[in-house]
Symmetry: C2
Subunit: 491 residues, 2 copies
């Protein structure tokens, strides 16, 4: 166990908080519920952003930027949306401060009260559809395929770094289409973009599905989601894609002239992932030694640590290290050679283990003699000695192998923790035991879903897209059901 890191078995929640701090990913700020994303954490987020942004552009989307503030009245325009988003939020009421009368500080200037309060965006459907109104007249203006990278604020009462913060970073796609079918196809396409990203880059297996009505986005007709399973048996919603129907077009009066000359409301989607993915990444792979990163998202993929006494030995080791570094970099592998003399090798080993660097190469005096290096994998903690000419091909191979191995390990874990049950007793036994996904029949009513949640905190994570038609009886009510859905306790 890493020094000072609580083990997962002891206290999973504490382990998570300590790991986020010790791996230098993020910390709580002085502002309630808002986090500081530290450079190492942000570097991982940047890798996520870069890959997602590439995928968005490959699927025809462009980035744009819309205002941080939304007039209060906009939220009232879409009935479901206002209940979902406009309640717990940051409200700007004034636009000026002034010196207070005793000159000891600054106070709000009551003469500078806004006529209409502004809400710091919790999501941007309203302001964007108000803008689209002016962009769309004819079918020629469609589709609009726009994404925004932005910060949003939701005044959460109980916050946790990355998982639930008052301010978080995200991307929100907002698209406008001429037909229902096209909008649905877009929402589904983006679900799969997210799913592929989660599996191929985060090495995190996800279930692709649709939400029950209770769990749907406020204003959506259908919410698609990817759901992942964390090591503690709780599910985490990692991304959502919404088919919004014509709800926002109607709320903001966005119509277009069709090819045949009729005038219709526009069809919409929105979709987003956030810095919450950082929490998912951590809780999918990390262990009691600290963070474990899949190579594709590791800011440093390989670290080289010299073990030496004196300047001369360091110089010899540096020569070998820099040659390996340069060759690996030629293969687009990012390498850090940590030759700092302020820290001992043992300290460095622990540090890079904590930070989840996928591969560590150590070079000591014996290695110099033998023409070898020691290569250690972060995921398995295995160490092996290689001849110098084997190092580069070995490390290249490990980049793929570790990525796949992490995925397979997480997939096995999920398989072992996904259970089909047919009785309420078995359901409770699992939900209140090891947790995980529980595949069970449900009568399709929001009432039953609510009662199950009240009974054991489990919610319907999704109706998997690949769910098969199967006659059954609802686990709770006994009423007939046509397919199994996935339940779990969730973050």
């Amino acid at each position: 166990m890493a020094k000072g890191l609580t083990s997962r078995a002891e206290d999973y929640s504490k382990w998570y908080n300590e790991l986020v701090s010790k791996a230098d990913l993020a910390e709580n700020s002085a502002v309630r519920g808002c986090m500081v994303i530290k450079p190492y954490g942000y570097a991982i987020w940047e890798k996520m952003q870069a890959e997602l942004d590439k995928k968005f552009k490959q699927t025809g989307h462009q980035n744009a930027y819309f205002p941080l503030f939304i007039p209060k009245s906009y939220f009232s325009k879409e009935a479901a949306h206002v209940d979902g988003f406009a309640k717990e939020c940051a409200v700007v009421t004034h636009y000026r401060l002034k010196n207070d009368e005793n000159g000891k500080g600054i106070v709000v200037d009551e003469d500078a009260k806004l006529e209409e309060e502004l809400i710091v965006r919790p999501t941007s459907e309203t302001i964007i559809w108000d803008t689209y109104k002016n962009w769309i007249q004819s079918y020629r203006d469609l589709p609009i395929l726009v994404n925004q990278w932005a910060n949003v604020v939701r005044w959460e009462m109980r916050t946790r770094l990355f998982l639930r913060t008052a301010e978080f970073l995200w991307q929100e796609g907002h698209t406008a289409h001429a037909t229902e079918a096209e909008a649905i196809a877009e929402a589904e396409q983006m679900l799969h973009v997210y799913g592929d990203f989660a599996e191929k880059f985060m090495a995190m297996p996800v279930v692709r599905g649709i939400k029950s009505a209770n769990e749907r986005f406020a204003g959506a007709l259908e919410t698609y989601c990817i759901e992942a399973l964390m090591q503690d048996g709780k599910a985490l919603q990692a991304g959502t894609s919404h088919f919004l129907g014509q709800n926002f077009a109607k709320a903001f009066d966005v119509k277009f002239q069709t090819k045949t000359g009729s005038v219709e409301h526009v069809w919409a989607t929105s979709w987003g992932v956030s810095t919450r993915l950082m929490g998912a990444l951590i809780m999918t792979h990390s262990d009691d030694q600290g963070l474990v990163l899949p190579p594709k998202l590791a800011p440093i993929q390989v670290v080289i640590v010299p073990i030496y006494k004196g300047e001369e030995q360091l110089a010899e080791i540096s020569e070998v290290a820099n040659k390996i570094k340069s060759e690996l970099e030629d293969h687009d592998i990012s390498v850090k050679f940590d030759n700092r003399d302020t820290h001992k090798p043992g300290w460095k080993f622990a540090e890079y283990e904590m930070k989840g660097v996928p591969v560590r190469i150590a070079i000591g005096p014996k290695d110099l003699e033998n023409g070898t290096v020691e290569v250690a994998r972060r995921d398995t903690l295995e160490k092996q000695t290689y001849n110098l000419d084997e190092v580069v091909p070995t490390v290249r191979g490990l980049m793929t192998e570790i990525q796949e191995s992490l995925y397979n390990k997480a997939a096995s874990f999920r398989e072992e923790h996904t259970t089909s049950v047919d009785t309420w007793e078995d359901f409770l036994k699992i939900i209140e035991g090891d947790g995980g996904f529980v595949s069970a029949h449900w009568d399709g009513t929001p009432e039953t879903e609510e009662k199950i949640k009240e009974a054991c905190k489990a919610t319907i994570r999704c109706i998997p897209l690949d769910a098969v038609e199967e006659e059954g009886k609802c686990i709770f009510s006994g009423a007939p059901s046509k397919r199994r859905v996935l339940f779990a306790k969730a973050y």
Copy 2:
């Protein structure tokens, strides 16, 4: 003159506003002073971001993210800073809304009043130095070289798209150092990063200099800046880099143990550029036909427009066009083949001229016969016909030639509009005439600077870094002066 675009001679300000709109760069939003950056405008900003981010990382900086909100009291901690930034700002006072009593909308919930108001960041020195306090104990923790890409809000009363908006996008670097010399070197390094970016990527010549005390950043000991000259003879501050001394370290009690064991306050810098650069880019190069973009920042560097009658001809032209496109793309040149049948070639020509695409290739039936294409430069509006085998090398050459030519044109303009004057009469004649930079002696006092500003709205843009020592008399007061400074009216 482009259809519907006011000429610069007629009304420069109107020309600017119309161009920003017609080139699809940005528009005013429903929220006072906040803009919507449209996809085409955002694509240019993304190119700026990518290049700057690369330069920041090459100089050892890492990105991080700090909270959007800053507790009100933080601003009072640095005396100069509070006057400069904490007055005209967006103030969050409540964290919840509720349905109003007649059920017709939502109102602020007075039970959800914050104990301390939060300010939407106008700049992040205070929250960041409050954070650094916990990051810095020893000289080993220094330097901290961090940058943040973020949105900021300053409640401007008179706003103009890109140039002055209530919310804008920017980057802000915040560094912490063990010594004064190191912090000054950092501030100067970043000034040169900005200067090189402006000149090599934006093709915009800039004067590197330092600000007079009046124009200094609130809280800085020295503000370095790059100043550019717009086509209407007004200057534009395009980037600033501040040496903050120990002001913020003292305000937030950030000390470190030196190598020798003593305890000292940390030295600081901050530096930033914003979406204002978009305004500078537009006003440096564009003409009465619309936007003109340097190839290095053009989202589309080459557009190919087919001129055809019927499907068959289009197919033949497409074959030629796609071959050229693919070959240019192999040389990392971005190409759009606009084969839409919804718009005529003439409409497309005007559209891409308005949007500043550096090179247009037109292919018509005659070209098919002759094995030629027509190549048009956006900057000079020159057209020339080339044989097919000449196209790729020609266009590749144009990428460099247009970039350089735009820089040279802007540099010549600035040279023609920079005047050394020695009398107040000559000074006024130029400032109230064609404008431009005026190089003149100044007695070094804030009072004189203020009086000159009152008299004719000209301000000291900077004391150029390369200013030579020269005995002279202040243009206004007649008092002795040791060097010339640059005056201009400014955006």
